[in-house]
Amino acid sequence: MKFKKLNLVLILLITILVFFALYLGMKKQNLYTTDHIVNKKMPNLISTELFTGEETNLSELVAQEKFTILNIWASWCAPCRSEHKHLITLSSNNNSKIVGLNYKDKIENAKSFISELGNPYDHILLDKKGFISIDLGAYGVPETYVIDNTNNKIIKKYLGPIDEFILEEIINILNS
């Protein structure tokens, strides 16, 4: 009989615990918010380079320039093609380095994408499993971040492809 009571108490406890866990889980805004990263410190980003295959740390690559533009892209992503010409325009700006983060892509496809459309990037890092993009709070591809290197802060992020207006805005930031 004692055993049975113990069982009952245990099961009830577990039930109540699960209830509260689910309740709290539900209360949490489950929508994957991506804005919280703006005005925050840029997370440390280490990954493999596309062409050299070397492990590289992003902060070491871009130390000299004032700004970094981080662009998440993939060869299978149609809007990435449309924004590519704007990235090439941006690459002529001297105040920044453009770093591409190649998202869940095949290396050959990524390389042929670059050779077909031109390479605006100073460096291309691989995000094969998409974990880095999750750390960055990305929604999808393409996505573009403007990072201030003096204090290592993300000052702006753009969802979706860059168009003429965004291009102008970025150039204004870079020249400010």
Binding site: A21, L22, N30, C77, A78, S112
Partner: protein, 622 residues
């Protein structure tokens, strides 16, 4: 007008529920367990009201009455009639109404089918089932009214997600609900039998039908969902361990365990407590499935409702039911009339118990994989997603002993079997299957000792269940289902090992070589259809010494809402599924093309249908 009719018939339904609950509770307490035609009539009327309300909603969808919010959000005038109707349950509100309809329908069928049962037990079942019905009615009326009114009336609706315009998906939800809701009746009835102290062979015999029926529908429902994912999503897979898929797999595993344990209860009047626990657990899992899907706690294509009040309502309701079940289970002790509850180690009872242990293990793996991310997020704010590797790592090793036990189990006799002299023939088969699987693994290039063992045990199981087909002392439905299961396992394994794919960006005129096949992207056509525009690609695959095959995958661009989907062109034969799917990269120029070769796909579907067919044989058998 139609809107109001539909709504008020639901409100009337609440009154009926309350009346039935109070009336039958009074009858139970006063021990005046008279069971007259009144319950039969009341439930029939209730059923009539809900069917009426459902027809109202269907009518609204057919005539595209956009003054109804549900219709406005989910339909469009240009949609084909078939999908207008399937749109009724393709959304949160309508699907709940369907759920309610099935709940009441099952109760009605239960009353029709249990004329011989004890009155007290019947009344108790009605009370429990009506409590569930009442809960769902209130849920619909207060949080998800399908007859919400919209003014001014819009002229056009927002359309149904084109991914959902698929015949398999049109019938997937109703079939799955039949399975889910069937478990509610098993739940009510097992609680009723616990209170009534009538958990015995007779009850097992009576409830077995309902267990089988739910199991069949659940199996078919899961299969349809999987078929839809395979053909429509075009990812080349049929199971993704998506939380929502898991949510339907969990009750299935539990129900499969129950299906076996109830047989022991029927034949040996034993495993009483366990059977009741499984009945409660199955229903709790079905309900939590609804909760997880509807509360928006999971992110997936299935989550249509993101209203927190809805989630809260189901969560509270779910836990009230679970607490009720726990209290009833603990306060009405189930006495084991069978003095020795220990089974002889070599007997069918033990085999069933082993089956149950495995089912429980698989269930806990899926449960942990599904719930852990939610708990982790609550505790540490960390977001993780649990994918296939987790499930494979934890489940696959246990499949080996599971297959071996499953090969032996069905042949054992009840109570006590003799350990006959070693069957050399069987050992020979075991060695043979080892050799075959070694060859398979060697040939496929996957060089793992582990796969060899896994495949050989599954071949062994396949052989055993196939040779059981001609044995006389095993029941026919069981033979069919077990054979189907072993076929399913082999197909899945071979499919997993031999699947090949290539993924590349191509323009019209490009060529691609893949495993001595040449894939040529010949041309592309543009066509206009009723509610979408269509891009049809022409691909030709040539293999040396064979006739070239043409593939015509499509890209559809729907009008309302503007969404483009890729339709794979799948060529099926007995050994292989070949398919090409392509998607838009930049308008008119470059396409992403994926070619896949998936062996034994058709056998997965065939074996699943056979599995359910075996179940239906058991259902109609006296």
């Amino acid at each position: 007008m139609i809107n109001q009719l539909g709504y008020y018939s639901l409100v009337f339904c609440v009154l009926f529920s309350l009346f039935i609950i109070t009336n039958s509770t009074r009858a139970i307490i006063s021990k005046n367990s008279k069971f007259d035609g009144i319950y039969y009539n009341l439930v029939f009327l209730q059923l009539f009201l809900v069917v009426f309300s459902f027809i109202c909603l269907i009518f609204n969808f057919i005539v595209s009455d956009f003054s109804n919010v549900t219709v406005y959000n989910n339909s469009h005038t240009s949609k084909p009639l078939f999908y207008k109707i399937s749109g009724v349950w393709g959304n949160h509100e309508g699907s709940l109404l369907l759920w309610l309809l099935v709940l009441i329908l099952f109760l009605f069928l239960f009353i029709l089918n249990s004329k011989k049962s004890e009155n007290n037990y019947k009344l108790l079942t009605i009370v429990f089932q009506e409590v569930i019905i009442l809960g769902f009615l209130l849920f619909i009326i207060f949080t998800s009214n399908p007859f919400e009114y919209l003014f001014p009336t819009p002229t056009e609706g927002l359309g149904l997600n084109p991914i959902l315009q698929d015949p398999a998906l049109a019938i997937h939800p109703p079939i799955l609900y039949l399975g889910y809701v069937g478990t509610s009746l098993v739940f009510s009835s097992s609680l009723a039998a616990t209170v009534n102290k009538s958990i015995n062979s007779d009850w097992a015999k009576h409830i077995k039908k309902w267990i089988f029926a739910s199991w069949i529908f659940l199996t078919l429902g899961i299969m349809l969902g999987s078929i839809w994912a395979y053909y429509e999503l075009g990812w080349g897979g049929f199971w993704f361990w998506d939380p929502v898929e898991n949510v339907s797999l969990m009750p299935w595993l539990c129900l499969t365990a129950l299906l076996h344990s109830v047989l022991v209860l029927e034949k040996r009047n034993s495993l009483k407590n366990w059977t009741v626990i499984l009945s409660i657990a199955t229903f709790a899992l079905s309900m939590s499935g609804t909760f997880l899907v509807r509360s928006g706690i999971l992110n997936s294509i299935h989550t249509f409702a993101n209203d927190p009040s809805r989630g809260l309502f189901i969560l509270i309701f779910l836990f009230i039911l679970i607490l009720l079940a726990i209290i009833i289970y603990f306060s009405f002790e189930i006495k084991n009339t069978n003095p020795s509850n220990n089974f002889f180690w070599l007997s069918k009872e033990t085999a069933v118990l082993i089956n149950n242990w495995f089912m429980m293990y698989f269930l806990s793996v899926v449960l942990i994989g599904t719930l852990y991310p939610i708990f982790l997020e609550v505790i540490s704010n960390e977001k993780i997603s649990v994918g296939a590797p987790f499930y494979h790592k934890l489940m696959v090793p246990f499949l080996i002993p599971f297959f071996i036990f499953m090969s032996i189990g069905p042949r054992l006799k009840w109570i006590k079997d003799k350990f006959t002299k070693i069957n050399y023939y069987q050992i020979l088969i075991l060695i043979l299957s080892l050799v075959i699987s070694y060859l398979i693994v060697e040939y496929s290039g996957v060089k793992y000792l582990f796969s060899t063992i896994l495949i050989s045990t599954s071949i062994f199981l396949f052989y055993s269940s196939a040779s059981d087909l001609v044995k006389k002392n095993i029941q026919f439905p069981q033979k069919i289902s077990h054979f189907a299961f072993s076929l399913l396992i082999i197909s899945i394994l071979i499919n997993g090992i031999y699947s090949k794919e290539i993924n590349s960006n191509m323009k019209v005129g490009d060529n691609l070589t893949f495993m001595n096949k040449k894939i040529e992207f010949k041309s592309i056509n543009f066509e206009k259809q009723d509610n979408y525009n269509l891009l049809r690609g022409n691909f030709e695959i040539t293999e040396e010494g064979k006739i070239p095959i043409n593939f015509q995958p499509e890209i559809r661009i729907y009008d309302q809402p503007v969404i483009s989907t890729s339709e794979a062109d799948i060529k099926t034969n007995l050994l292989n599924d070949n398919f090409i799917v392509f998607s838009l990269l930049k308008e008119g120029e470059v396409f992403n093309v994926r070619y896949q070769q998936k062996p034994f796909m058709i056998w997965i579907w065939i074996s699943l249908i056979m599995l359910a067919f075996g179940g239906s044989l058991a259902l109609i058998k006296k």
